[in-house]
């Protein structure tokens, strides 16, 4: 076990470095489900009311199928998005302590001390595994304290923890693949996204008795969901997830001994001896194009998926007279599908805001890495430098939303034979999200310009909006809390009416915030470490 020498020391280092970061995701993700128990129990006291609430096709896409009508099952279903966030936090933690360390050269310094070959990977994985166990224990205790059954509380903890474990292992594998941490993160998040989309597509299709229900079985998120806490409390899906985790960890170890420290698996090829890039914008294009292409592709696939399942949502209601009548008043089955699509657009908009923040924060990464310095020492002023990145932070999400609207319109339009009508309609519905997306990007600009060291806090804005978005429907969340999210001020399209007033107001807020940030940037020291 010489290859593991020093693991303990490295774990202590990780705990020291992440002493604030770890509790920051462990605590809320464990406590959100606990906090839902009481309010949701009061809002939906009967099995029937729970079934009706969970039967909405949009909710099935988001959270999956309700496994049973007990309160525990209902809460587990309602917090179905939280395991995804656990998975995200886990994979980011592993990559942060493996590939990022190698990329920055810190691993090399440690590697020269008495540290075994596998100690770095082992320390990152063990810490993340332990963090997930802690999260599971807190969650189980919390749920049990809310008078939910013991067995089910342990099961929901297991569901969360094994999801976290599996994606920690995914992060460990992708960290071996490329020399760049950004790419490793991108691949791992794509795997998570694909798992979610497969689960969503499978569940939506199964809900409408479609032929694609098996898709959920391709997704680790789908497996974990089938533990069915508080219902069957099955243990075998957990074994499936854990087995996959073991395989992935083995793959990560296998890959890590086949490469050099600091290198990826794919060797670097030679580049051109002379460059064509000669302006800040050209440089920004080189730095952002990979990110842009992957987001646009991802959004196109997302649109395709949601557009594809949309028609089935209407079919669901064919047999249900009451619901038919209700939706007839709302505009028939078309109204139902529209409300589904509008819900989907909000989700897509929220995801696009994550891209906006990510692309905007590249500015800060350029600053802290020291790469901004030689550029700023040339004749390109700092505003031009910032603007060149903001082009991608602001228009990149626009391109991604456009792609999602286009493919969604095509898929749904082809299904109902109205391509000419649906494509522009859904493109419009996708692009209407932009003002809210821009506000979140502008918040990142303000932080970057005025409080550069706090720039990572920009991620709190999309996180808060996602939490508000996920918890607002059908609950007693106060209106003013919902109004914090700019997405709550957007017209619900397709189907609703767009009012120019709120859009103009949102854009004005984004512009003012952006200008404040840029003025701050112009006045401050650069780089600030």
């Amino acid at each position: 076990m010489k290859t593991l020498t020093g693991t303990g020391g490295l774990i202590r280092l990780i705990l020291r470095r992440d002493r604030f970061v770890l509790p920051l995701w462990i605590l809320p993700l464990a406590l959100i489900p606990v906090s839902y128990v009481k309010s949701f129990g009061e809002l939906f006291p009967t099995g029937e009311s729970r079934l009706r609430y969970a039967g909405n096709a949009g909710f099935v896409t988001l959270y999956g199928e309700l496994s049973g009508t007990s309160l525990g099952e209902f809460i587990t279903w309602r917090v179905g998005f939280v395991p995804v966030m656990v998975a995200l936090a886990s994979l980011l933690t592993v990559i942060r302590h493996t590939r990022v360390e190698e990329e920055t050269g810190r691993r090399e310094l440690l590697g020269s001390s008495v540290v075994g070959r596998h100690a770095g990977l082992a320390a990152a994985l063990l810490t993340t595994f332990a963090a997930n166990v802690l999260l599971a224990a807190l969650l189980a205790l919390g749920m049990y304290s809310q008078d939910l059954p013991m067995a089910g509380s342990v099961a929901i903890g297991l569901e969360f923890a094994c999801t976290g474990w599996l994606f920690a292992a995914v992060g460990a594998v992708t960290a071996q693949l490329t020399a760049s941490a950004g790419t490793a993160r991108g691949i791992a998040i794509s795997v998570l996204g694909a798992s979610y989309v497969l689960r969503a597509a499978g569940d939506t299709s199964a809900h409408s008795d479609g032929p694609l229900g098996w898709l959920s079985w391709l997704s680790p998120l789908g497996w974990a969901q089938r533990i069915q806490p508080y219902g069957d409390n099955r243990w075998w899906p957990a074994v499936l997830v854990l087995a996959a985790t073991v395989v992935l960890v083995a793959v990560a170890i296998y890959l890590s001994v086949r490469r050099d420290l600091g290198a990826g698996l794919l060797p670097d090829r030679l580049g051109p001896a002379d460059g064509e890039v000669g302006s800040p914008l050209g440089l920004a294009w080189r730095l952002h194009r990979g990110l842009l292409v992957s987001w646009v592709t991802g959004f196109a696939l997302l649109g395709l998926l949601f557009g594809g399942v949309a028609e089935g949502v209407g079919d669901l209601m064919k047999d249900d007279k009451d619901v038919q009548e209700m939706f007839a008043r709302l505009g028939g089955s078309a109204g139902l599908i529209d409300s589904f699509l509008a819900g989907v657009m909000t989700i897509i908009g929220l995801i696009a805001s994550a891209y906006a923040v990510q692309a905007t924060l590249r500015l800060r990464a350029e600053e802290t890495s020291g790469r901004a310095e030689p550029v700023l020492a040339t004749a390109s002023g700092r505003l031009r430098w910032a603007a060149s990145h903001l082009v991608f932070g602001l228009l990149g999400p626009a391109a991604a939303l456009l792609a999602a609207g286009l493919t969604e319109g095509l898929a749904y339009g082809l299904a109902v034979g109205e391509v000419g009508k649906q494509v522009p309609r859904l493109i419009g519905a996708a692009l209407i999200q932009l003002p809210a997306v821009w506000i979140l990007a502008a918040i990142a600009i303000v932080l970057f310009g005025l409080f550069p060291r706090l720039t990572p806090a920009a991620w709190a804005a999309p996180a808060i909006c996602i939490l508000i978005g996920l918890s607002s429907a059908g609950t007693n969340v106060a209106e003013w809390v919902r109004d914090i999210s700019p997405f709550n001020h957007l017209p619900r399209l397709p189907g609703g009416t767009a009012s120019a007033g709120s859009l103009v107001a949102l854009i004005a807020i984004a512009v003012v915030l952006g200008l404040i940030g840029l003025i701050g940037l112009r006045r401050r020291d650069l780089p600030v470490g």
């Binding site: 020399a179 760049s180 670097d268 090829r269 030679l270 580049g271 051109p272 001896a273 002379d274 460059g275 064509e276 890039v277 000669g278 302006s279 800040p280 050209g282 440089l283 080189r286 730095l287 890495s369 020291g370 790469r371 310095e373 030689p374 550029v375 700023l376 020492a377 040339t378 004749a379 390109s380 002023g381 700092r382 006045r523 020291d525 650069l526 780089p527």
Partner: protein, 300 residues
């Protein structure tokens, strides 16, 4: 002062509680190679960042090529090139692309000159930046700066990471751009032989203040010459002379250090006694710098 490429007076910059610059005066004359020396953390990089308009001084004035480094930054940057001490490059750009990028953004790059410098620095421009060693990344920044047609070069420990052969090339090239093209160079460095070979004048800073400034021969006057002499008579009274330090007497031989300014008076006294043999060791630059780098209060 039209003949000063850089002049600062009383620059002060604080970061939180740390006073990085504490009233710094620095004058670099047009056309000279000016050495900028000081221990780690003395404020050299902060000074250069103020001159580049990246950091704003809390007080004091700075003039760069007759412009204001903060408000005229963009215009001034067309006329200067900068090499940071710690070069980070974009991992997915090749070295050649990075050189051309920086050159173009500065307003143009001499293609022939670039090819020549790549050859002399023995740098393969096709490699991706992440594949370069520290020295090679440094070369990328050096080629980009030296191939630009600019009046002023700001070099912040530019040879850190270069091998001795490349250091030699660097010296030749800087000598050329200074002699042939008449460029002004501000060279921050820890390598004394480099400073001695290249610099017309030097400024030494410590704790954010300039402690000495002048030509190297002027600075040598601040040092002490070591003297070993065999005397005919007794060495009485020698220790009381001003400028004599660390006097030791061993079987008719005296050894001491003498302030270079006082050397004449001390020699006169020695010849009065009668000298049989005399060895004098000129002050070394190392000793000078070590003495000037020492924190105030401690003495060597």
């Amino acid at each position: 002062m039209a003949d000063a490429a850089i002049s600062t007076h009383g620059l002060v910059k604080t970061f939180g509680r740390t006073r990085a610059l504490d009233g710094l005066d620095l004058t670099v004359r047009t056309g000279e190679v000016h050495g900028f020396l000081g221990p780690n953390g003395a404020g050299k990089t902060t000074t250069i960042r103020i001159l580049l308009g990246m950091t704003r001084a809390d007080s004091g004035t700075a003039k760069l090529l007759d412009g204001d480094p903060w408000s005229d930054a963009t215009e001034l940057h067309r006329r200067l090139a900068y090499v940071p001490g710690d070069v980070t490059l974009w991992p997915n750009l090749s070295g050649g692309e990075a050189i051309d990028l920086l050159g173009r953004m500065r307003g143009g790059l001499d293609k022939k000159r670039k090819a020549e410098l790549l050859e002399r620095f023995d740098l393969d421009p096709r490699k991706k930046a992440r594949a370069y060693s520290k020295g090679n990344r440094q070369k990328v920044a050096l080629v980009a700066a030296l191939a630009s047609d600019v009046e002023l070069l700001l070099l912040d420990e530019p040879t850190s990471g270069l091998d001795p052969l490349m250091e030699e090339v660097f010296r030749e090239v800087v000598q050329e751009v200074s002699d042939r093209d008449g460029r002004t160079v501000l060279l921050s460095s820890h390598i004394l032989s480099e400073v001695e070979a290249l610099c017309d004048r030097v400024t030494i800073i410590r704790a954010g203040r300039a402690v000495e400034s002048g030509t190297l021969s002027e600075l040598r006057h601040l040092t002490r010459t070591s003297i070993k002499a065999e005397l005919v008579g007794p060495s009485n009274g020698l220790a009381e002379l001003t400028g004599v330090h660390d006097l030791r007497v061993e079987d008719g031989q005296v050894r001491f250090d003498v302030d270079t300014d006082e050397i004449n008076a001390v020699l006169r006294r020695l010849t009065e006694v009668g000298v049989r043999s005399l060895v004098s060791q000129p002050p070394s630059l190392e000793e000078l710098f070590l003495r000037l780098y020492e924190p105030e209060g401690s003495s060597r």
